[in-house]
Symmetry: D3
Subunit: 239 residues, 6 copies
């Protein structure tokens, strides 16, 4: 049995709170059960050097975890003087996932940075971050439209992410920490509402996994993504 008797295909309770802080152009607190990530979107009127003069914008992301977001305290990356490989991997994933749903040419020569900071961690922080950052980004882009800076909204589709995995031989959706740390296979899936894939990252933590297991996990992910995008739509008051 999963904790709280949660069915295998069921996500944890999802909460998306917009306008969580005052100053960012988009600010979302996303909760996947006890996992809580604050996603702030900042618009800046410039692009990185490699894009100068190319008449397109850029989406980037940074990820951090408060030292005591977890059961035991981890060292502050600012104090260590460098970001871990895990942090860099995650922030690259968030940025790629969001760029996949934005028309960068329509954005014009500006950069939107998504700061995803984990307030509390109970597994699935990267998938929550992508899911919340999508809403924060949507708000920041809507503001550019409302302010007359952009003529049309450059977001092409909503995107969400979910972790799926095999725990004690069973395929389950949206793993919490106690499941994640015991999973034999762990897979993060970034998907659009129409089921098309932006990113698939599956890892055998124990035994390698079969083609059939992969298909089962993808199917579970698809179900979870539907629940997440539905929560995003509701938060954004989209039809």
């Amino acid at each position: 049995m999963r904790p709280n008797n949660r069915p295998a295909h069921q996500t944890r309770p999802i909460n998306i709170t917009r306008h969580y802080t005052r100053y960012a152009e988009g600010s979302v607190l996303v909760e996947f059960g006890e996992t809580k990530v604050l996603c702030n979107a900042t618009v800046e009127e410039s692009v990185p050097r490699f894009l100068k003069g190319q008449q397109q914008g850029w989406i980037t992301a940074e990820y951090g975890m408060l030292p005591r977001a977890t059961h035991s305290r981890s060292q502050r990356e600012a104090a260590k003087g460098k970001q871990s490989g895990r942090t860099m991997e995650i922030q690259r994933l968030i940025a790629r996932s969001l760029r996949a749903v934005v028309d960068l040419t329509a954005l014009g020569e500006r950069t939107i940075t998504l700061d995803c900071d984990v307030i509390q961690a109970d597994g699935g922080t990267r998938t929550a971050a992508i899911t919340g950052a999508c809403v924060a980004l949507h708000d920041a882009l809507s503001k550019l439209v409302a302010d007359g800076v952009l003529k049309q909204h450059p977001m092409k589709a909503l995107v969400a992410a979910i972790s799926v995995g095999i725990v004690a031989g069973e395929a389950v959706c949206d793993l919490e920490y106690v499941e994640d740390s015991n999973a034999e296979t762990d897979m993060n899936v970034v998907m659009l509402e129409d089921g098309r894939l932006v990113e698939v990252q599956g890892t055998a933590e124990g035994e390698p996994f079969s083609h059939t297991e992969l298909l089962t996990l993808l199917d579970l992910a698809k179900q979870g993504i539907q629940q997440l995008i539905s929560a995003q739509r509701q938060a954004l008051n989209l039809a």
Copy 2:
């Protein structure tokens, strides 16, 4: 006139929320108006090397600000690879202030780290951090007593901190950002309930200040501290 017609001696609305996150031994969200700081206390069963074998404990602190806590985004210190001088100055101040009210011998050979992370900044983040961290530390110590690890509570008194300053020629208490950035003199005061001082840091940003102005500011600080300690007592359900 101050923003919102606030009287010169009045603090902003103070909110102290305990148990804000789940895992830390003490976890407090402190709000001074729009300034919001999360203060997490972590207990570890060891002391820094310079205290090994001396049969006393240690209190330390780290301070951070989320990149978009402020009106414009600041670079993430973890990405820059080092903490700024301002950050180091503040975290040293927080730690000194808290050590002043704890009987380190009664704490035994353990370390309590206070992580103070600014979620939203509107002036006075360091004074809010000290005021909130005192409550988080109290909770962490109470837990050690409740768990039977300590016989008596090692906190000797509550401590709080307030900023006072001279803005447009007038002495005011608990400056918000728009005041702080225009202050001629800026002073942070860390004080006990009985009016004794733990730390005084006064800085002339424009003209030097007179002895008389210093006394006026100290008096304002004393009034503000009463309000803060009263809020701490209420949050902690102390008489």
Copy 3:
């Protein structure tokens, strides 16, 4: 058409040269066409701190690219003072892939480090690195057996990796640089000979990809892996 009229399912010429340098316990130069990676395996009689006393070994990896392995020179990471996110991501992937095929308990309390240094890069450096490192690791483990340190060889299976992707609308196997930089979808697959998966990482660089496309790519990867494992077997003189 692909460069050199290469069929979609065909890998580039694969060369695996063992004993490429003199001092490492395993030393392999692996070539996927013009991509050349030197994989050196080092055995050390200790384990990282988090494994001390747990009676198991560890496999780790480091990845680097000579500054002029590519068409234009990139800055040396040692001179910059830090490894890029891409480098860290790759070396974590190499290490996870190899740990999946080694019985770490049978290895005993020792660490094997795989240094994968790219001499020349024409796409697919991480997949070549995994494929070559597997052979270098096999040699290092065989030496431990031959020296009487280990009773049985702790490698459970051969593992190889291939990149597959969609280029100009067509699914192709083992992308070279000119293909990789124009791919709409890019997927790295780490697989055992029996088709079970160790790692799948698929990324939409342009349009999201469909479930069907994913299946096509996985099938292509499987064919490529067969060719790679066959080359590994031949190099190792295994039946």
Copy 4:
């Protein structure tokens, strides 16, 4: 009794040697007893980026301590690869103190950097540094006037700094190391000749201090500052 029977209100012997090195625009060795700090002022014809085009100058400071300035050797910050929090705190204090007495608009778009390097440390290095740097800065500004670069001297007043504290229950002025390391309360005061304050930093190292004690310390500081400014005037041949 204090070391050498020094009365409570008395500073150590103060020596200020101008033109200590040849190349700097201002170069002063300041001695507070056995504490010796070399203060070099450098004029550069540019301002930091945040001041570009604002038709004003800037004063900044850096602080360092030779590894064997103290009783036991401390690690060289250049070798450690970063400056400590203490170093940053001190150099920020020195710079603020000097900016308070210079008309930055009259200085024009140029930067003066004060390098304060401790040759020998016996307590009070930051107060000696401020006191000596004021003289070095005065010399550098005088040179700009003498060279016809500036029409009038931009220094508005002399500034000096002194440490005061409570040691063994007694308030004393200009603490040397053996006193400083045993002080219950420690306060650094930066003051003009007319008694107005630029900076006050008081810290309870042991018990908190009372309002009355604060006043006693400020009074002692005022007496010490008179002695220091008198020494500055003499060194500068000012009336």
Copy 5:
């Protein structure tokens, strides 16, 4: 006796392989016996800031050693986050040696970087690097001439480097690792074909060395350099 009965004045077998990698403007694998260094020359159309507008070019060098080039693994400098003093010393020496034989004005405002990466180390890596880099640089310059970018070849002479030393009381040429680590005196000599010196670096590892010993070593070096420059000429098909 030396290893392999090598006579005192004899270098190890020298091999110089041009066009070792595909993309660099000059790419040479140089072998001094078991020491193998890959030297890649990169041409860039800019100069460092301190040379901007001075109508001359620049030659620079970087040196690295693969972690397992040696008998035991050394830590990767990119992972440590800094280059060692030894690395910096060597790359500065390589660059100075090559600048001595190039007419920097004839090169025009461009920079050539020599990346010297040690694939396998058995003593004399810095002398092999200089000797190989000279050939790689010659090729890169020839390409600039062939492409019509330069009218005449800016290399004024070939340069090579050799290590000589006193081992077990005997002066020997081109020390391999086992000799180098036991040498009483160790000297690296960078010389032109006509015997003129570019650099001499002699170090007493044990006893100081006499003037006479210095002369003997210089004479041995001269003989070794003849063999090296002859190998360079042959590789470059120069008369």
Copy 6:
């Protein structure tokens, strides 16, 4: 003509002041004309890890230059976060030079660190540093003997260093900055009183130099070293 009509073979005025600071076990200010270097020797009762248990001591050195030791200000290495290649090269040279004259076995398991900090620089800082550090080291060792820690003085000979070079076609001794920056050839020689060599580092800055020129420079160096060692003897009151 040289500055101040100094003859080619003549060093600048040499001053060696012992006991320059109070706390170091050896403390020497050495002056070669306007070049002034403070050399402090610190004794510590431990050895680096690679020497643990080998019953011998170690001599190491660190070098730094105050930011305004020179005509224009250079950036502080502690602020940059790393030491330059030049700094590392020099401190390695100082340490090697001193180790050559100490019986490390007689020193026992302790480390002596020589901190050489340049107060003012007018050429020849590394040679002045070696010359002064030798005296500071002698004092530190004498103190160990006087304190009864060592039975006999472990210094086997005095060592000094001088720069020689070819300036405007003429060989000269002890170059000052204006000569050094125009030298065609520059050579640093570390020598014992008996003329035996510890280190020779000759570099062609412009044209390569001939064997004959090398001999002329060595002869000049020998004369300079006599003057330096005579000054060391006088400072140490040795016969």
